[in-house]
Structure formats: structure tokens, C-alpha cells
């Protein structure tokens, strides 16, 4: 008997000054599941995530997080989620440790969770060692991303919304981050919504995926189901076949 979905998206539409970013998408994420939204740049992934993170109101349709409407109950939704934007930054004048403490303090005020415990978990997830006591301004892109991921996960959200979590990272940093997301979700039972245009990443990370193209969801299923359906070797091939794209040369 399936419980209440972590995320319910129904007929979601969003228009940016005449450009339709979302054309009525629908999907559902189960509790504790890692769900991947995959598609090329400009497909509507980030817009979907921003709506679920209460940053953007949809023009049409409905989006709920654990039964709470993202527009009407935005404050309740914010208590349950943690969002990692694609192009996020941390306060450059703070140390990594100071940044985690600052964020934990804000969460602690709102949720009553123990700030020290959050910081302790954040330090573990970030894995930056002594560098955590250096200013963020001195961090590489990979280190900043690890810090931001630690910030997003240390609060033990019920839903983590991660927009291109490994975007622009080198192979080893990207691998480490994927591994941490997967382990954290399994250990803590946290539902995760990941967007990516890296099909192989999503195949490694996600229990189920939705392929989004031109503001429409063209396919949903587990990586195994989709590969079987399209007789494909990997999700990249599934994407090409499902979206009707053809590679030339």
C-alpha cells in the first residue's frame, strides 16, 4: 500500500514572457526515493525545481510536497525541503565552518532541531577536513559544491531538491558527490529530486527518472524499465529514442 507521495506534480505550466518553459508536466515522487529529472539545457528542469522549492509560482497546475501546496503553504513546504540551486554560492567572507553554523542556526530557529548536531553532520558530509576553517573565497569550485551539498543535507530535510549537483565538477569530485547523495538518502530515508543533463549520472543515482524535453515529460520509469522498453544500453540512448532526437555524424 503506497503512502502519501513526497512530491505530487499535476499539469504544471510556466511561461516566461511568452516562452513556455513548462507545458503541463505531471509526475510523482515516492517517499525515500531518488527521482531524477533528466533532459537537455532549457528543457524545464530548473523551472520545475524552482517551483517545488517555492521560488517560483506556477502559472497553472498544482505542485505539492508531502501534501502541502507549494504556493498556498509555501512556509510549511520550506520547513520540509532543502534546495541546492544549480549556480549556488556560499558567503565568501565566511569560513566553511562558519557558513554551516550560520545555516544551522537559521534552521534551528525555524525547526527546533539541534544546531550542533546539524553542523556535525555537515562537517561529515562536506569532508573538507581542516580546509573547513578557511574562508570560502579560497575554495575551489568542487570544494564549494561539497560545502553547499553538506548545507543542503545536514538539516535532514524530508525532500532534498538538487539542481545539477555535479555540474562543472571534475570526475572525482562528481563521483564523490553522487556517492554521498546516494548514501545519505539510503541512511536517512530522505526523498531526493535531482535534475541533470548527465544521463549516466542519473542512471547511477536514481531509483526512477522522468525524461523532460521542451517543457513536456516524454517518459517516466526506472532506468531498467526504460532501457528495456527502448532496447537501449543506457539512459542516453533512451533519451535519444524517447525524445525522437537523432544524432548526426
Amino acid at each position: 500500500m503506497p503512502g502519501k507521495p513526497a512530491v505530487l506534480v499535476k499539469s504544471l505550466e510556466k511561461d516566461y514572457g511568452g516562452i513556455k518553459a513548462l507545458k503541463g508536466i505531471s509526475f510523482e515522487i515516492r517517499e525515500g526515493e531518488i527521482f531524477g529529472l533528466i533532459g537537455p539545457n532549457g528543457a524545464g528542469k530548473s523551472t520545475t525545481l524552482k517551483i517545488l522549492a517555492t521560488l517560483l509560482p506556477p502559472d497553472w497546475g498544482r505542485a505539492e510536497v508531502f501534501g502541502h501546496d507549494v504556493v498556498k503553504e509555501a512556509e510549511k513546504v520550506r520547513m520540509l525541503i532543502s534546495y541546492l540551486p544549480e549556480e549556488a554560492g556560499a558567503y565568501r567572507n565566511m569560513t566553511g565552518h562558519g557558513y554551516l553554523r550560520f545555516m544551522a542556526g537559521l534552521y534551528s530557529q525555524a525547526t527546533g532541531k539541534d544546531a550542533d548536531e546539524m553542523v556535525e553532520l555537515g562537517i561529515k558530509i562536506a569532508g573538507l577536513g581542516a580546509r573547513l576553517h578557511n574562508r570560502v573565497a579560497t575554495y575551489s569550485k568542487g570544494m564549494t559544491r561539497k560545502l553547499l551539498l553538506a548545507r543542503a543535507l545536514m538539516v535532514r530535510p524530508r525532500l532534498a531538491i538538487l539542481d545539477e549537483p555535479t555540474s562543472g565538477l571534475d570526475v572525482s569530485s562528481a563521483y564523490e558527490i553522487r556517492k554521498r547523495i546516494k548514501e545519505f538518502s539510503r541512511e536517512e530515508g530522505v526523498s531526493v529530486l535531482v535534475s541533470s543533463h548527465n544521463m549516466l549520472e542519473v542512471e547511477f543515482l536514481c531509483d526512477r527518472v522522468a525524461i523532460i524535453e521542451g517543457g513536456r515529460i516524454v517518459e517516466t520509469g526506472t532506468p531498467g524499465e526504460l532501457k528495456a522498453k527502448y532496447e537501449a544500453e543506457n539512459l542516453e540512448e533512451v533519451f535519444v529514442k524517447a525524445s525522437g532526437r537523432v544524432f548526426h555524424g
Binding site: Y16, G17, K50, A53, T54, L55, L56, P57, E75, R78, M79, I81, S82, Y83, L84, P85, E87, A88, G89, A90, Y91, R92, M103, L106, Y107, Q109, A110, T111, L148, R151
Partner: protein, 387 residues
């Protein structure tokens, strides 16, 4: 030098690519002459109109009046600036004594800068006439402000007044300009540093985020104010070198309290408005240039008052409706003993503050902040809007 030149060209190109910065150059060229053109056309003639009481029947007094008329002075008995030529003026010159003259000035309010300027211009003409006369003319002054009569030159009176009664509120206003830049930059820095999206998805009230930024800027501004006060105190402890302004110049506690309250509320309004406009910018530079434009809007009434322009008609109404006029309105009303009007001016500013705060919170809470899809068709050339 080569790398410096390359960097210089890159920075200049960046600036010129920014349409808002171009606007900051072009808008003043158009706006300020336009504004002052409108104000000048709405203001009454600024020719030097004085009244003359000639108690001397000698040749030098007649020569002085002729000289003034030839210099474009209009003699009209209704003028608040009066030149009194005492009996014996011509005889004093003939006998080689230093002749004296009296310039009487009646100010309609303590901020009647127009009349102050008239008196100053008359003094300059009298001194120029005196250049050809030996010994030189000694002009004396009699100043009437709301029934109080002082033997002081109007410009020195205003200068002393500004120093004694209005200095702190005016410093506060300058600090307001500084703080509004700081608050505008604080939001823009969140955008530029890509930290705003994270901040907006935290389980923290957005009103708290806004107010946190405002209060931090206010506290910062007060720290700057404290520093300025300390330095002013240090300067006042230095040994005096000259007499300075006239003593005993005061408008009383009430007007200063109302003026200070008005300036403080205007200061908050500047912060809130700068914050509001900075929500639509993408970087610190844009935020600062827009905050600068906002400050100019609130400074117009002050500029008009200090320039001594007498603005009437629709332009006059606009100047008086500008929240920047309210502290002056409160001050002048309180100076005339009309505390009800002074309180109304303060209330007017409070209403503006409430309105702009609500608007800023609404923008912060709505998707407008993220999409910047506000109907910016008319503003797009002025502010950087990401669509």
C-alpha cells in the same frame, strides 16, 4: 602599462555595455536641465527687488540709488529687503568718515533662502559702489525672523542656524544616503554571489530577511554617525581661531525635534526604496546606480529650498508631495507654532514608509523577485532585468 591599458579598456567596455550606467550618464544630462527648466519657469522672477528708505538728501545717496538701478535693481516698497540710507550719509563721505548703511531683511521663514540671497546680492552691490568711495562703506544689518529681530547678516544667520540647529539632522540625511547604498548593495551582493536563491528557500520569514538587512544597514549607519560625532567633538575641542557665527541663534527645541523625526523617517524611506529597486537588479553596480537615482528623487525638495527657488503651480505641488519635502514642512510648521501640521508631515512620511515596506515584502515574497518578469517594458532600458 600594457596590461593596465588592456584592463582599462575591458572595464570601460563593461561600463559602456551596461545600459543602466549609460542611463546614469544620460538621464542627468536630460533630467536635471529639464527639472530646473520646469522649476525656473514655475518660479517667479528672480530679479533683485528691494525697497529703499533714503533719509539722506545728499549727492552720494542719489548716486548710490542710480548705481543700483543701473545694475538692474528694481525698487519696490513691498520687498522684504530694505536699504536704509541714514541722514548724513553724503556728509560722512565728504568729511572722510566711513559712512554706514542699514540693510533690513525680513525672512518669511528660517529657510527663506531666496531673501537671504537677495540681501547678499544687495550687500555685494553696495560694497562695489563703495569701491569708488573713500573711506569704504560699512553696511549694517537688521534681520527680522518671525518677529525676532537680530543685528546680524542674513547669510551668517543661516550659516549659524545650520551649524547649531540643523547640523545633526542634515548629517543624518547624508548618512541616509550612505546607508541606502549599503542596503541596496546587500541584496545585490546576494544575487551576485548566488546566495539569494538558497536564502529564499530557507524556513525563514522573508520579512525577517528584509528587515535584517535594513536594520543592519541602520546600525552600520549609526556607527558611521557616531564616528562623525566623535570627530566633530574632537574638532570642537581644538582651540578657536576666529569668532565664527553669531551667538544666540536658535529656533527652539520643537522645530528641531520635528525636523529630526522627519529626516529620520526620510532616511528609513530612502533605505526601503533603495532596497525595493535593488530587488530588480542583478549586481552591486546596478544596485548602487539605481539607489543613487532614488536618492536624487528625495533630494529635489531640499535642492529647491536651498537654491531659494519659489516654485508654484503643478511643479510646486509635485515638490511638496515629494516625501523629501516633509521634513522641511514639519520644520517650518513647527517654527510657526503649528504643531498639528508638523505632526501631519511626520505622519505622511510614516505612511510612505509603511507603503514601501509592504511593497518590498510583497516583491520579496512573490515570484517577481526570481523571474524579474515584472512589467519592465518601460524600465528595461534603465535596469538590468533577467528574463
Amino acid at each position: 602599462m600594457g596590461e593596465l591599458w588592456i584592463m582599462f579598456k575591458k572595464e570601460l567596455a563593461d561600463i559602456l555595455r551596461d545600459r543602466r550606467l549609460l542611463a546614469a550618464i544620460i538621464v542627468p544630462i536630460i533630467l536635471i536641465p529639464l527639472l530646473f527648466g520646469v522649476l525656473q519657469s514655475s518660479s517667479r522672477s528672480s530679479s533683485l527687488v528691494i525697497s529703499v528708505v533714503n533719509e539722506d538728501s545728499g549727492e552720494y545717496s542719489r548716486a548710490l540709488i542710480e548705481f543700483l538701478e543701473e545694475s538692474g535693481v528694481v525698487i519696490d516698497n513691498g520687498s522684504p529687503v530694505r536699504l536704509v540710507i541714514p541722514a548724513g550719509f553724503s556728509d560722512a563721505i565728504k568729511s572722510g568718515r566711513s559712512p554706514s548703511l542699514l540693510i533690513e531683511t525680513e525672512l518669511s521663514s528660517v529657510l527663506d533662502f531666496k531673501t537671504v540671497r537677495l540681501a547678499g546680492a544687495l550687500k555685494a552691490l553696495v560694497l562695489r559702489f563703495g569701491e569708488g568711495v573713500f573711506p569704504s562703506i560699512r553696511p549694517e544689518f537688521r534681520l527680522d525672523v518671525g518677529g525676532s529681530v537680530l543685528s546680524v547678516e542674513p547669510s551668517r544667520y543661516v550659516s549659524a542656524l545650520l551649524r547649531s540647529a540643523l547640523a545633526v539632522p542634515l548629517v543624518l540625511f547624508v548618512i541616509g544616503v550612505y546607508a541606502s547604498q549599503a542596503v541596496a548593495a546587500s541584496v545585490a551582493m546576494e544575487k551576485e554571489g548566488k546566495t539569494l536563491e538558497t536564502l529564499l528557500t530557507l524556513p525563514v520569514s522573508r520579512r525577517s530577511i528584509i528587515l535584517g538587512k535594513i536594520f543592519a544597514s541602520v546600525v552600520f549607519s549609526f556607527l558611521v554617525l557616531a564616528s562623525l560625532t566623535l570627530s566633530a567633538w574632537a574638532v570642537s575641542m581644538l582651540p578657536k581661531t576666529s569668532g565664527g557665527g553669531p551667538t544666540g541663534v536658535s529656533v527652539g527645541v520643537g522645530p528641531v525635534v520635528f525636523f529630526s523625526a522627519g529626516v529620520f523617517l526620510l532616511f528609513l524611506l530612502m533605505l526601503l526604496t533603495s532596497l525595493l529597486v535593488s530587488l530588480f537588479t542583478l549586481d552591486v553596480r546596478s544596485a548602487l546606480s539605481l539607489a543613487g537615482l532614488v536618492e536624487v528623487l528625495y533630494l529635489i525638495p531640499l535642492l529647491v529650498a536651498f537654491a531659494g527657488l519659489d516654485v508654484s503651480g503643478a511643479a510646486g505641488l509635485l515638490v511638496k508631495a515629494d516625501p523629501g519635502y516633509a521634513p522641511l514642512w514639519a520644520f517650518l510648521s513647527a517654527t510657526n507654532g503649528d504643531y498639528l501640521r508638523a505632526a501631519a508631515a511626520v505622519l505622511y512620511l510614516l505612511l510612505w514608509n509603511g507603503l514601501v515596506l509592504r511593497l518590498a515584502v510583497w516583491v520579496f515574497e512573490s515570484g517577481v523577485l526570481m523571474t524579474k518578469s515584472i512589467d519592465a517594458g518601460k524600465l528595461r532600458w534603465l535596469i538590468r532585468v533577467k528574463i
